[in-house]
């Protein structure tokens, strides 16, 4: 908040790399997997193939987001709050693998609960990512 804002240098209005179809797709996939996993958890089902495939698709979308960000960075664009932004980005890419590993270790309803929880956290982190990219205005 009180951090000295860097001079609003040559920031192309083209906008944020984390605010596009990829981000929307990631949020939608994450929420779909979350609902699927929640139903599984409520029905006392262990994580099924659909959940693991969903996590894999989600991870691919998030890696795509990271690549798009890297391209934007090499193009000279900068996030508004670098500290938080890269923190969120690293966290984001780690989320689906974390869920997959723990869900495999826990072949009970709680494995599905883990997938559900992680997939609920993911959209929040994506939104925070977008917020920390564009703070240059205020």
């Amino acid at each position: 908040m009180n951090t000295p804002t860097p001079a609003p240098a040559t920031v192309p209005v083209s906008g944020s790399p984390v605010d596009g179809a990829l981000a929307v797709a990631a949020i939608v996939v994450a929420l779909l997997v979350a609902v699927w996993a929640l139903v599984a958890a409520l029905r006392h089902r262990s994580p099924d193939r659909v959940q693991f495939i969903g996590l894999a698709v989600l991870e691919l979308l998030l890696l795509g987001l990271a690549v798009v960000t890297a391209v934007a960075l090499t193009g000279g664009e900068r996030p508004g709050e670098p500290g938080s932004f890269f923190g969120y980005l690293v966290t984001l890419v780690c989320l689906p693998p974390l869920a997959a590993v723990l869900a495999r270790m826990e072949p009970t309803r709680w494995g599905s609960a883990i997938v559900c929880a992680v997939c609920l956290v993911t959209p929040v982190v994506v939104v925070r990512l977008q917020q920390t990219w564009e703070v240059l205005g205020g």
Binding site: M1, W110, A117, V118
Partner: protein, 142 residues
């Protein structure tokens, strides 16, 4: 409850694994954030960034303690949850009373409001889970 037939309640199975998952998420979030902040602009808010780093270490150790599930692991997890609760309440109160000391946010500022108050709820859940599994363990052994 559902897994009443599986004897020996352990801190690293069932709901405990979900708790470990959330702890790991916070460990990653807090440590990557602290690493970037300390590396790029440590001078701006040294206290806040050191607290972020401390929070990160506590989350990591708590996750390991819960995952190890032994006597020592339980004790380590207990100490971490207590430290965490003290940290989030203390830093939360301090960040409201003396905002000048915290020019940049930490995981624990404003009682964890930047992270959906999960930092405040997490140690309480952790302590409850440790208590629950210990009671269950007593019932099994006696």
């Amino acid at each position: 409850m559902a897994e009443s037939h599986t004897a020996r309640p352990r801190t690293n199975a069932g709901p405990g694994r979900l708790l470990i998952a959330v702890y790991l998420i916070f460990a990653i979030a807090a440590s990557s954030r602290a690493a970037v902040q300390i590396a790029t602009k440590f001078d701006e808010a040294p206290l806040a960034y050191l607290l972020s780093a401390l929070a990160a270490v506590v989350y990591i150790v708590a996750a390991v303690g819960l995952a190890r599930a032994g006597h020592a692991g339980r004790r380590v997890a207990l100490a971490c949850c207590a430290l965490e609760l003290a940290g989030v309440v203390g830093v939360g109160a301090f960040s409201l009373a003396r905002p000048d000391l915290f020019p940049d946010e930490t995981v624990w500022s404003g009682f964890g409001s930047g992270y959906g108050y999960i930092p405040l709820v997490l140690p309480i859940l952790g302590l409850a889970w440790l208590l629950h599994t210990r009671r269950a363990a007593h019932r099994v052994s006696s």
